[in-house]
């Protein structure tokens, strides 16, 4: 017995060693590109005053003094911050609601289509924009909105009205950005929900039909409840990025036009510009720390609340 026990132990140790070896490259990557930058959160609480020629670690931890929440109070008091926060929340709430409602409705409707070949083509076309980059999407939109050659302005001129300088007119861009965002993401989300609907036990529907349930009854009492776990998972993940935004949508799609800044500038764009164009480390690090910190709190809160409400382990953490 003793002998056998020791042997298994030895073998297990060998196996564990091998498995650890197989994990090593990924672990190293996570340490270098996820965990090491976490210490950089210190940027947000430092008055960053680098001395040239010294290493980043020395500059950050030795040469810069701790300044508590100074960076944050400066950030909050900066004049355009309220607008930036409003934009970030505004677009995110809209994408949170519409980004779930529209694809769910479309997925439910899509199950109504009988032609299988048509179904395949429709799915493929709707999915395509998700796999185009924001740069490409920006130029697709440019084809319509360009001031001189754009299709829309050309049609407007045919109709007798003067063209619009789209890339200089902020008032249209909330709508344009929302439409573009949904254009790109809806197909992908729709297929996710479609997969979830497909995995619903078919006998549920059959017995419901036998009991005389109509279309709406079945959507209401079978499809939606069965989709709920998927919806909740996606909802929680989205809540966690409430202060994040798709950088490409807000930077590249409006072609970084300054006159549109009042409606296109979100926190991500602000962080990027503060860092790369103004080299303003305190503002941008404070802003990006806030994004990450508040996102983390929201994610955990949403997860806890929802697992208390129904006892499902929604994200699987």
């Amino acid at each position: 017995m003793m002998k056998k026990g020791r042997k298994t132990y030895g073998r297990n140790r060998k196996h564990n060693g091998h498995l650890l070896m197989m994990s090593a490259p990924a672990i190293i990557w996570f340490v270098l590109f996820c965990y090491v930058p976490m210490f950089g959160a210190a940027f947000a609480f430092k008055n960053f005053t680098p001395k040239p020629g010294e290493s980043l670690v020395r500059n950050l931890f030795v040469n810069s003094r701790w300044c508590g929440f100074e960076n944050f109070s400066f950030l909050v008091r900066s004049s355009d911050m309220s607008n930036i926060l409003f934009n970030t929340l505004f677009y995110n709430v809209i994408f949170l609601v519409a980004g779930i409602a529209v694809p769910v409705v479309l997925a439910i409707l899509l199950t109504e289509i009988h032609g299988k070949r048509f179904l395949g083509v429709v799915q493929m076309v709707l999915l395509l924009p998700y796999f185009l980059s924001w740069v490409i999407v920006g130029y697709c939109l440019y084809g319509f909105l360009a001031t001189d050659e754009g299709l829309v302005n050309h049609v407007l001129k045919l109709l007798g009205s003067a063209g619009v300088q789209w890339y200089q007119s902020p008032k249209y861009w909330r709508g344009i950005l929302i439409a573009t965002g949904l254009w790109k993401s809806t197909g992908y989300s729709m297929v996710i929900y479609l997969c979830a609907i497909t995995s619903i036990d078919r006998t549920l529907y059959e017995s419901a039909s036998l009991d005389g349930a109509g279309f709406w009854d079945r959507v209401r009492y079978i499809t939606l409840p069965q989709l709920l776990p998927t919806i909740i998972t996606i909802f929680i993940l989205q809540i966690g990025s409430l202060l994040n935004s798709d950088f490409g949508l807000f930077y590249q799609v409006p072609l970084d036009s300054d006159s549109l800044a009042s409606v296109t500038q979100t926190l991500d764009v602000y962080v990027y510009k503060a860092l790369m164009q103004q080299a303003n480390f305190s503002y941008s690090s404070a802003a990006s720390f806030l994004q990450s910190f508040i996102g983390c709190i929201l994610l955990v809160t949403a997860h806890v609340i929802i697992s208390k409400m129904g006892d499902q382990d929604s994200v699987g953490v």
Binding site: H15, N16, H18, L19, M21, M22, S23, A26, I27, F33, C34, Y35, P37, A44, S55, E112, I113, H114, F118, V125, L126, L127, L128, P129, F131, L132, S133, V135, I136, Y139, C140, G143, F144, A146, D148, G150, L151, W183, V191, I192, C195, T198, I200, R202, L204, F215, R218, T223, T230, T233, I234, L275, M276, F281, S285, S288, S292, C296, D313, V317
Partner: protein
């Protein structure tokens, strides 16, 4: 995933079915039309664009823009090669790192399984933010203006690892792995000889996601490649710098062809370049489509 169950088959009349079909036909057209416009403009003649703007019905067609892109040679070709290098290297390296790790996580007897699960989930909760990643990547790892900057930061993803782990756990028969172990196989051998060949669907799924992600990536170039290193630009970033790119391309083309006085079809070149970037995606997309479903069942990613 091939056959979608249509739970509501009988609930709607033929007429409703036709209406829904029409709605989706319109929707699909609306989604595709912007892409179509880019294609049409890229083959329109410059005169047509000057007269009636970007239009679905150009007055005359011309391949002038593409001729220019071909003539310009090195600048665009270099960017194309860069995009291919980044895509291939990122995809292969990413899979080489993630798949053995996912396999290790899928083994129940692995002692550090739980700890490592938390280890990869935590970065999804909290990250150091853009500023610290940028500063560390440039000043500590010295990735600025290198290919590595365009490849390494996006290499691994917790999602992909979880998708692969679930596949390995659910689709690999436990008895087979045990039998291999009794026969004296070690885990790396089991992984390389048994699990990998049997896991083509999930490997392909992740590969497809990675390929599209790297082909479409431009944010790393925006951050890490400065304008003195145009030789590192991938295609997407050439598009971001469109105005400068058009200038470079026309200079190159005029130099090669020797036509000096001749004005370049700048308005159509723009769209022709976009087509050059979209075309590989469009061609590969139908082939890749069938692999996407596996990865999309996010709902099945559970701990």
């Amino acid at each position: 995933m091939e056959e979608y169950v249509r739970p509501l088959d009988s609930s709607f009349s033929k007429r409703v079915n036709r209406v829904v079909t029409a709605v989706f036909a319109i929707l699909a057209a609306a989604v595709f039309i912007p892409v179509l416009l880019v294609f049409v403009v890229s083959v329109s003649s410059q005169e047509s664009v000057a007269a009636i703007g970007y239009s679905f019905f150009p007055q005359s067609l011309s391949l002038e823009a593409y001729r220019y892109l071909l003539l310009s040679g090195s600048y665009l070709a270099r960017a194309f090669v860069n995009s291919v290098i980044i895509t291939v290297a990122g995809t292969v390296l990413g899979l080489a790192i993630m798949s053995p790790f996912a396999y290790a996580l899928s083994r129940r007897e692995f002692r550090y399984r739980k700890a490592l699960f938390v280890f990869i989930m935590f970065p999804m909760l909290f990250s150091g933010g853009l500023v610290s990643s940028y500063m560390i990547n440039t000043q500590v790892f010295h990735l600025g203006n290198t290919y590595l900057a365009l490849i390494l930061p996006g290499l691994c993803s917790t999602w992909y690892i979880l998708i692969m782990r679930n596949y390995f756990r659910e689709s690999m028969p436990e008895e087979m792995i045990d039998a291999a172990k009794i026969d004296g196989c070690s885990h790396p051998q089991i992984f390389a000889r048994i699990v990998m060949p049997l896991s083509k669907p999930v490997i392909m799924t992740i590969a497809v996601f990675e390929i599209f992600a790297y082909w479409n990536s431009w944010y790393p170039s925006l951050l890490y490649v400065d304008s003195n290193h145009t030789e590192l630009y991938p295609l997407q970033y050439v598009l971001v710098n469109m105005e400068r790119s058009i200038e470079t391309i026309t200079n190159d083309a005029q130099f090669v062809s020797g036509i000096q006085s001749y004005s370049p079809p700048a308005v159509t070149i723009r769209m022709a370049m976009v087509v050059v970037v979209i075309l590989p995606v469009m061609i590969l997309f139908p082939f890749f489509r069938k692999f996407l479903d596996t990865g999309m069942t996010v709902g099945s990613v559970k701990g």
